[in-house]
């Protein structure tokens, strides 16, 4: 705030001029001195009577120290000179930001751990940064009810945040609880603000971050997030595997069934074919069984024997004698019967 009261330098000027005036009784000096004093008084009156209110400002007008008017009209104003009237000009219409847990200095963010770090309801430590947006709501209270409104606001904000964080669990605070906590802190801050009568209007309170303390602890928290992601990856991979093998198996199963159906069908058709052939032959057989039977046997032998090696054995004696027919039909002939071991043996 800006107290516009003319300042102490005017009083000094007054005293100085009076001293110089007294001991030198020259007429010209007296007149010159009187003129000088009049000019000083004039300057004083003018400079303490004219004052300006900017657009974003409001001014409290004090008459003999008593708060008599609020001026919120921007522009040039007149008042009685000091010490009769005084104005206190405050940029009351501007929205101001107060950061809790950190400060912005020349565009840089400087963390203030002793403001940011606090204990949660489950006895962990969490770091919370917030911004309070405020402006002057009640100029009289702002100026005259509290000695340092911003210090009041800061203390109340810190206490409110700490109090709410102290009643919630860490995991809630760093995950889904932010909005809820924000609301409760705002409520608490307004309550304290009303109790203290600071004249400040809290427009908003927003948390920038509620997170585990920096360094190793934060890394451990990140590791948990990573682990959770890894878990999801594993589940996805497993699902991918399942999605791969199960449909394939279904395909295989279907293929098996189709094959079986095919086999069934072909077996039946084969049977039907066989039966048809049998029936046809039987029909002829029935007409003349003896001849057909003989014919069938011979035909079979004709079909089978050309490629066959035929041994005829005589089991009447002690030794088995055989006649290699194919050698007879082949080149060298030898009608010897060689004895081998038992019948059915081949070379």
């Amino acid at each position: 705030m800006n107290i516009f009261d003319g300042g102490p330098s005017f009083k000094e000027d007054q005293n100085d001029s009076k001293k110089t005036l007294h001991p030198i009784p020259t007429k010209w000096f007296v007149r010159g001195g009187a003129l000088f004093v009049s000019i000083l008084i004039l300057i004083w009156i003018v400079s303490t009577s004219i004052w300006i209110v900017q657009e974003q400002e409001q001014a409290a007008l004090l008459t003999f120290g008593r708060y008599t008017a609020t001026v919120d009209q921007a522009g040039l104003h007149l008042k009685w000179p000091y010490p009769i009237q005084q104005v206190i000009i405050v940029d009351a219409n501007r929205t101001k930001r107060m950061t809790v847990g950190y400060r912005e200095q020349n565009g840089k963010v400087v963390a203030i751990p002793e403001e940011a770090l606090m204990i949660t309801g489950d006895e962990n430590i969490v770091s919370a940064d917030a911004v309070v947006e405020w402006r002057v709501g009640d100029l009289e209270k702002y100026l005259f009810n509290v000695s340092d409104p911003e210090a009041f606001l800061r203390n109340a904000a810190i206490a409110s945040i700490r109090s709410v964080i102290g009643s919630v669990k860490l995991d809630y605070a760093i995950t889904e609880g932010k909005t809820d906590i924000q609301g409760r802190v705002k409520e608490k801050l307004n309550e304290l603000n009303t109790l203290y009568g600071t004249g400040i209007l809290v427009l908003d309170l927003k948390f920038q971050d509620i997170e585990p303390p920096e360094g190793e602890v934060q890394l451990a928290f990140k590791a948990v997030t990573n682990a959770r992601e890894e878990k999801n990856t594993k589940i996805n991979n497993a699902t991918k595997y399942a999605n791969d093998v199960i449909p394939k198996a279904r395909g295989d199963a279907q293929a098996m069934l189709e094959k079986a159906e095919g086999e069934k069908k072909s077996r039946i058709l084969n049977a039907e074919g066989d039966v048809a052939k049998f029936r046809a032959i039987y029909a002829e057989y029935a007409k003349n069984p003896a001849i057909t039977k003989e014919r069938l046997i011979l035909e079979t032998l004709e079909a089978v024997l050309p490629g066959a090696q035929i041994f005829i054995t005589d089991t009447s004696g002690d030794t088995v004698k055989y006649l290699p027919l194919h050698e007879l039909t082949g080149a060298k002939s030898s009608n010897t019967t060689t004895s081998t071991s038992k019948g059915g043996d081949s070379r």
């Binding site: 007294h22 005259f144 590791a223 589940i235």
Partner: protein
């Protein structure tokens, strides 16, 4: 000469009059008390803003704040009922309500703060060592709000004696001594590590479960299909058998012949070796016996 002297006298008297007037007027502003002292003794208090007279030179005026003031206590180490160390910062909102009392006991704002510091320190230490750590953190005890209780006690200590009215004593910050902080950090880290391990193992668990279920489904699907396939084939066999039976049962004897010959064709294909006894019909046929 005489005229100039007269002017000088008038000027001097005028100046004296101005000084007299100025030193017997004083202004009380909004938000402050003026205490008028006569030889160091407080004779009256002006709490309403405005302009007032006093006796020049004899009475002097001092200013005391009427506004609320905030006092921030340094961190107080406390051992809670459950034997945990904690550092607590408080701030106190206070104002001077009876300037005479305040002036008599405290003289100035700075000593007022000393009074508050003592009262708050003692009350906070006593109160907070009677409750558990968690109750301090949440500010809620079984009896109600901790800050309100402390405020009430500090108010009672200061109001009657010192003319100080305490609006609020509030826990601003709670902190842990460095060495305890480190152990809390370690606990938090190990807590998270166990959580991370849990997630990783849960991932493995889920992976194994899902893949095993998939494998099971695959095997079951294939086995069921195989069983069905066998059934189907069996049906085919049955049907074929039925067809054969139906046809062959007409003349079993012929069937035997027919089937034997059939099987000769298939078993004796290629270059079979046939050993025939000399007295078989075919041999006889062959040898002309």
């Amino acid at each position: 000469m005489k005229g100039r002297y007269v002017i000088g006298v008038f000027l001097g008297l005028g100046l004296m009059a101005i000084i007299l007037v100025l030193s017997s007027l004083f202004i009380t502003r909004e938000g402050e008390y003026k205490v008028v002292l006569k030889f160091g003794q407080a004779v009256r208090i002006v709490s309403d803003p405005g302009i007032q007279w006093k006796m020049p030179f004899i009475e002097t005026v001092i200013t005391l704040p009427k506004r609320q003031l905030v006092y921030e206590s340094p961190p107080t180490p406390i051992l809670t009922r459950d034997k945990k160390p904690i550092l607590v910062d408080n701030y106190t909102i206070w104002r001077i309500t009876e300037p005479t009392k305040f002036l008599r006991t405290a003289q100035q704002v700075l000593s007022g703060e000393q009074l508050i510091e003592n009262a708050v320190y003692n009350t906070v230490r006593r109160k907070l060592s009677e409750v558990d750590y968690s109750e301090i953190i949440s500010e809620q005890t079984v009896r109600g709000n901790l800050s309100e209780e402390i405020t009430r006690e500090v108010y009672n200590l200061l109001f009657e004696t010192y003319g100080i009215s305490v609006t609020d004593v509030r826990i601003k910050r709670t902190d842990l001594p460095e060495e305890n902080k480190a152990s809390v950090y370690n606990r938090m880290i190990s807590d998270r590590q166990s959580m991370a391990t849990k997630y990783l193992s849960e991932g493995d668990e889920a992976y194994k479960k899902i893949t095993a279920q998939a494998d099971r489904t695959v095997r079951e699907t294939l086995a069921a299909a195989e069983a069905d396939a066998k059934k189907i084939i069996a049906e085919g066999e049955q049907e074929a058998a039925r067809i054969y039976n139906e046809a062959y049962s007409v003349d079993p004897e012929f069937y035997t012949l027919y089937r034997t010959l059939e099987s000769y064709r298939s078993t004796l294909s290629g270059k079979p070796v046939i050993v025939m006894p000399i007295d078989s019909p075919y041999t006889r046929l062959l040898l002309g016996k």
